[in-house]
Symmetry: C3
Subunit: 174 residues, 3 copies
């Protein structure tokens, strides 16, 4: 074998070693470590809107926004509506948070629904009210994906007016 060929072989062997180290390293990194990113745009909020851990996005539980905000001039309080209305609002907030992150309702893999007893229903949970809004987003012709879900009535939510809190885990997928 000639010297030039030998030199070429030797160089290629080093390329192989370098390739093995590079790819081997990348593979080990993907097994052992994950990129975490906190979505906390509101400095005053004690919690994050959500946190990315690799391809998994954990969102904080969402309460409804008011249908009619409080009007201090008139002395009126905010109006939040019934379970159906509040569920719609919470789901719209979740959808907006997902879209900001390049995801949508189809990417929700797990949902937890915490319902407060509705005074207008004798203090019972309004399951049909939840379902009426939920089914606009999941299991439709346009969006057939349905999440794994648990739903139950809690003793109380963090805000006295709140009838629904919805928490989701979404995943960025192929």
């Amino acid at each position: 074998m000639k010297a030039a060929a030998k030199a070429g072989m030797k160089k290629m062997k080093w390329n192989l070693v370098a390739l093995a180290m590079l790819l081997g390293g990348a593979t080990i990194a993907s097994q052992a470590q994950v990129v975490v990113k906190h979505l906390q745009p509101n400095e005053k909020s004690p919690i994050a809107n959500g946190v990315w851990a690799g391809d998994t996005l954990y969102l904080s539980g969402q309460l409804a926004s008011p249908v009619t905000p409080a009007d201090p001039a008139k002395g009126t309080e905010a109006v939040y509506g019934d379970t159906r209305t509040q569920a719609l609002s919470a789901l719209q907030k979740i959808q907006a948070l997902l879209k900001e992150q390049g995801l949508d309702m189809k990417d929700v893999v797990k949902m937890s629904v915490f319902l407060a007893g509705d005074p207008a229903k004798g203090g019972k949970l309004d399951f049909p009210g939840l379902q009426a809004s939920y089914t606009q987003f999941f299991g439709t012709a346009d969006q057939p994906n349905k999440p794994a879900r648990s739903a139950f009535q809690v003793a109380a939510l963090a805000a006295p007016w709140a009838l629904v809190e919805i928490e989701v885990i979404a995943v960025r997928s192929k």
Copy 2:
């Protein structure tokens, strides 16, 4: 160096480049993307039985199946039993769902247990009843794995007869 040897070298270098692109691409894909699969065999159900996200399987909260189904001819309602009986049924349903996916109770990494107050216990949660069924599946000689778990009493579950709802996250592991 002869022409034939040079051509062989050149071809091999392209192999190296192709290999680097192929493996590099696969490695990046494993960092950035996950395969999601919705288990939703029942078209009428608004939720999935469970959802795979990579190697993580999120199951929906499971309620018990009736011990004795309703009998419209006799006018009798379904019988679901006490907390112990319902917990056993919910855990058996979880085990069946896991087995369909090639997993088993050993693969449960996280469990949430939502207990409704038992009228036969003065409206209190029946924690010993839960434990009696739970310990048949976890921490046994045959199946020593125990999940991380939270358990508490909720105000009410989705079905008026329900005393227990159990939700798990399971992981396909090496």
Copy 3:
């Protein structure tokens, strides 16, 4: 091309194949399988302290430790304190569990807080009490990370004295 050069080429081709199998195999393994590790040092406990699934650590819900343990000689019961005191204790226990695993509060990506009604607050949840302890660990100058969180009042926790149970998911990150 000479025989020696041909033999060298052939050997290198096998190196390439071996490399491809090795790295390809490792890459596929990182996509399809995860290492799960159960942290269950207490044989008598029916649940794990936590479970690792890849880089995700699921901890069991933590209740407070007593401020003053029971004293059978004096016939006094354990004292656990109010929501603020119990939240501080539960968070300290979580921090200790995380540190044993090489993590800390900054690595918490998701938190669930289950509050029992405080008899001293007319049976209502003591949200300010929770926040007073929580904000010592999250969103501070030293530790700016804040988790995604849900918090609500349950009907009862597993122990009659318990006012707070806190559950977290933490992630080992780059």
